[in-house]
Symmetry: C2
Subunit: 180 residues, 2 copies
DNA sequence: CCGATACGTCAACCAGACTGCCGTAACTGC
DNA sequence: GCAGTTACGGCAGTCTGGTTGACGTATCGG
């Protein structure tokens, strides 16, 4: 049944959006996210950390030298919520805070060696799942996935992702993006 | 930059999975899920309900007559956690419990008229986002999205989704699936 | 110099998850 | 027909991770 519908729509660009299709999309998001996040839980439990810590580690790792306010905007949580999580990560030596050179009010966040190591362990768990899914689906599906996911998120999130990617490739070419 | 990579890989089935691609997938999942769930929050806040209530409403609506244990397995929460949420929904007249005919230990869950109405309001908010994303991406991308998302989730979740879809089309043809 | 900003912090609260334990009703297999 | 298992509900207590509001300090910028 699934394949009938899939085959019918896969070739054309015409969209017949039945309510069922949208409800199925809700299911997809719920289950994929549930099991994606769950993949790292074993390691987190070992260390007595939670998903909130993982999210912080992830985005600090991806944006070394990120100021607190920017991280807050990404996570969409309050200063207090982040403070607890960040406090634990700093205390346990996973995250380092360095005063900004340009704006000295800022406390720029980055992973320590230990933080990078931990983040990598967590990453590997999720990587397995994602790689498997990507390989099974194939490159064109992956591109479709990317397009739809970008469409679901807020414009601001799309802009952030583009900006961040830009920064990373700039960095690659030796240009400093976020003065550590 | 994004388009260079996209153009390079969109045509072929060859996958060059850089670490950056996988990390970008993590970002995609985080942001898409964050904004997808957020879409219904306004309405939930009005009614003093939370996301937990929404999830329950969604899956009860999609599986009328679902027994408690099955709902627990889908949500991956404990009896106690569900009890509180379900208690509120029953008390406020959104969900009805009816003893199972075949197995009278079961309390089969279904949305009341009010529950259906509420679920629909919540659904509409998320629907807007999903429809927009689907339309912008186009049918082939949607199919790719579906394939990747299915790949990310557990085998059990895939099986559930297939089973549920099967049930729904059976129902359409007049066969009783879950004796209310 | 003064207002806005970046950040930290205290206190209190709340949602939503968890555990362990107990109880009742009903199904099921021998 | 009884014994063991299952489906469900409920109590008590705990934990994570989110919230608000208020306040303080350092720094930036016009």
């Amino acid at each position: 049944m699934a394949d009938t519908k899939a085959a019918a729509s896969a070739g054309s660009n015409l969209l017949f959006l039945r309510e069922e299709d949208i409800r199925a999309a809700q299911d997809l998001l719920f289950f994929a996210y549930r099991d994606f996040t769950n993949a790292a839980d074993v390691i987190l439990d070992e260390l007595g950390l939670g998903r909130a810590h993982h999210r912080a580690l992830h985005f600090i790792g991806r944006n070394p030298g990120i100021p607190v306010t920017e991280l807050l905007a990404i996570l969409r949580i309050t200063k207090q919520s982040l403070a607890r999580v960040l406090g634990a990560l700093v205390e346990q030596g996973y995250v380092a805070q360095t005063p900004g050179q340009i704006d000295r009010r800022q406390r720029l966040l980055a992973l320590t060696q230990a933080g990078q190591a931990l983040e990598r362990r967590l990453f590997e768990r999720q990587r397995e799942r994602l790689v498997a899914a990507y390989r099974d689906a194939g490159a064109p599906s992956v591109e479709g996935f990317r397009r739809v996911m970008r469409g679901i998120m807020d414009e601001a999130a799309r802009a952030y992702m583009d900006g961040a990617e830009q920064s990373r490739s700039d960095q690659q070419r030796g240009r400093a993006v976020r003065p550590a």
